[in-house]
């Protein structure tokens, strides 16, 4: 089965610029323009134009070395997008509550699996009694990695709340 009609569906609902952006901001490793063009279903020159604009907008940055220019998300942009999502409709008190909730979740896993970190849980998963238990522990380790990152973001948002929200926090 090919995904040719999936590509048509995507092209119908997102512009070439949006497709290039969506592919380029989600790569795990820097990629050249031709690779991004293929994934985003746009012509090479179109991708290069859009990538150049995205670099100017500080959404992407280029890496040096090798023959072709490679693109990766600008870490500051990635961080800003995640903080923006977190701060939308949340007061500083909401963030404090969320921090408590995330910490509680981590502590629950630490106790349940007697593991201090997601990588320690993965090690334990490899030696679990059943294959099903292994899979469940690996899934939890994956969630834990995401929760750990969220916790880091929430702490950043709390610490810099007035700067990020552009307002003075209400007195405690």
């Amino acid at each position: 089965m090919t995904d040719k009609s999936g590509a048509e569906l995507w092209k119908e609902h997102q512009s070439a610029f949006d497709r290039v952006r969506a592919v380029a901001v989600t790569v795990s490793e820097p990629k050249p323009a031709d690779w991004i063009a293929e994934q985003a279903h746009v012509a090479g020159n179109t991708a290069r134009d859009h990538l150049r604009r995205l670099v100017e907008m500080n959404v992407l940055r280029t890496t040096t070395g090798g023959t072709a220019t490679r693109y990766e998300p600008d870490p500051l942009y990635t961080r800003m997008q995640a903080l923006r999502d977190l701060l939308d409709n949340r007061t500083r008190d909401d963030l404090l509550e969320l921090r408590g909730n995330l910490q509680e979740q981590v502590e629950e896993w630490q106790t349940e699996y007697d593991a201090d970190s997601p990588s320690e849980l993965r090690e334990r998963a490899a030696h679990a009694d059943t294959a099903e238990a292994t899979r469940e522990m690996r899934r939890t380790a994956n969630d834990w990695d995401i929760i750990a990152y969220r916790l880091q973001l929430v702490e950043d948002a709390i610490e810099h709340y007035s700067d990020y929200a552009g307002s003075t926090p209400a007195p405690a």
């Binding site: 997102q14 795990s28 993965r122």
Partner: protein, 147 residues
């Protein structure tokens, strides 16, 4: 995806993909709303759909998206795009270690929660999250129309 210190952070890489999937899925005409769940934790995206637009007769449907970018930057992602509807039928495209098929990639479906899943091996043209999502939305419409 790179953390501030230049190292790879699987939590950051996965979360960045989930944010982008939430953004892009809302462009699909069947999607009424998409949010990060559980609220505040954001370990998956849940999209509320109008099943009729996808060829089903059910009143309500959801598509749940999970994404884990992999322990290292060059590792394959683990993901699941799973559809549930009010008729009780559910199905999904998964890419993770499993005992049901050779390899990671498979499709599974069952008529109701009381039935066992039927599994089949499938393949994808890409493992890039956003093009993959649109490919799966297209396959979902095909499955629901045939179902």
């Amino acid at each position: 995806m790179f953390a501030f210190d230049g190292g790879y952070d699987p939590g950051q890489a996965s979360h960045t993909v989930l944010l982008e999937l939430r953004r892009t899925i809302e462009r699909h005409p069947a999607v009424q709303h998409a949010s990060g769940e559980p609220p505040g934790q954001f370990i998956r995206v849940v999209a509320t759909l109008d099943p009729v637009i996808l060829g089903s007769e059910a009143d309500e449907g959801t598509l749940t998206l999970r994404w884990y970018a992999g322990e290292t930057a060059d590792a394959d992602p683990e993901f699941a795009f799973h559809y549930n509807e009010s008729s009780d039928f559910d199905c999904g495209w998964h890419h993770d270690p499993n005992p049901h098929v050779d390899g990671w990639t498979h499709y599974q479906e069952r008529l109701s929660a009381d039935d066992d899943y039927e599994y089949e091996t499938v393949s994808f043209d890409t493992l890039q999250p956003v093009p993959l999502l649109w490919g799966i939305l297209d396959r979902l419409e095909t499955r629901l129309t045939e179902h």
